[in-house]
């Protein structure tokens, strides 16, 4: 894992299924080892998916929740070692960007995250996140962090 606590990068991640991804994220999100909190986070991610697909571009997912179970807002990047099938309709996923927004987060942090999500409208930027090798990938993320 690379990155500060707000941004975390998992390059060549060997997560293989949606369940593994949400399980991993819930572990990161809960500092206290509470099963209930973790289940709450996984439940909220699944509920969010019912409202709309997390797919934002070919090969890229953006699962995100605002939750009382999240102790610290974070953006997690998973560049997967191997493309994964997410569900019956979504496959060949290579990059997952998960946003964990703490309930009643401060406006400054919300603005920082919103600035980042806006940058995902740039196909060139998303393409770089999909294809750059590890060092350059990190630089690309750091660049965003410094600009925001």
């Amino acid at each position: 894992m690379n990155g500060n606590s707000f941004i975390q990068i998992y390059f060549d991640s060997d997560l293989e299924t949606k369940e593994e991804v949400y399980d991993f994220i819930s572990e990161v999100a809960c500092a206290q080892d509470s099963c209930q909190q973790k289940h709450g986070i996984i439940y909220q991610f699944n509920e969010r998916e019912k409202a709309g697909s997390p797919l934002i571009a070919e090969h890229v997912l953006l699962p995100h929740i605002e939750s009382e179970h999240v102790l610290e807002s974070r953006i997690l990047f998973f560049r997967l070692a191997n493309p994964i099938r997410w569900d019956e309709t979504i496959e060949d996923i290579r990059l997952i960007i998960a946003i964990l927004l703490k309930k009643d987060e401060e406006e400054a942090m919300k603005k920082k995250i919103a600035a980042f999500t806006r940058s995902l409208a740039d196909e060139g930027y998303v393409d770089r996140l999909l294809n750059l090798e590890e060092k350059k990938f990190q630089k690309e993320i750091i660049k965003f962090r410094e600009e925001s």
Binding site: R48, I56, A114
Partner: protein
């Protein structure tokens, strides 16, 4: 063509802002004047003025939740889609707006 719109999603931190950027970029690329208001977790940003709404040829609502102030658009030609459509196919969405307007003008 003058386009105005609103983007709003359930959490209000992701699709709202990507949809806004993508619609504005696609609209400008197609040579239109476009302004998209966001109703997200930060609140309302880039709020549309009554003049902008009045002058608009068409309104695009990319929303997964109820839009605040929907009555401002009463009487306007509205295209309503989920944010997902604006995020995944912004160029097609602008094309659809062009077609809807053409049909309106032909009537």
């Amino acid at each position: 063509m003058k386009i105005v719109g609103v983007a709003a999603c359930t959490v209000g931190i992701a699709h709202t802002y990507i949809a806004q950027e993508k619609m504005e970029n696609a609209g400008k690329k197609a040579g239109h004047e476009i302004a998209i208001e966001t109703q997200g977790t930060i609140g309302t940003e880039n709020e549309l003025s009554s003049q902008q709404i009045q002058e608009a040829d068409i309104v695009i609502m990319a929303a997964d939740v109820k839009i605040a102030g929907r009555e401002r658009f009463e009487g306007k030609r509205i295209i309503q889609v989920p944010t997902e459509v604006a995020v995944k196919s912004p160029n097609k969405l602008i094309k659809k707006a062009e077609e809807v307007l053409k049909q309106k003008q032909a009537q």
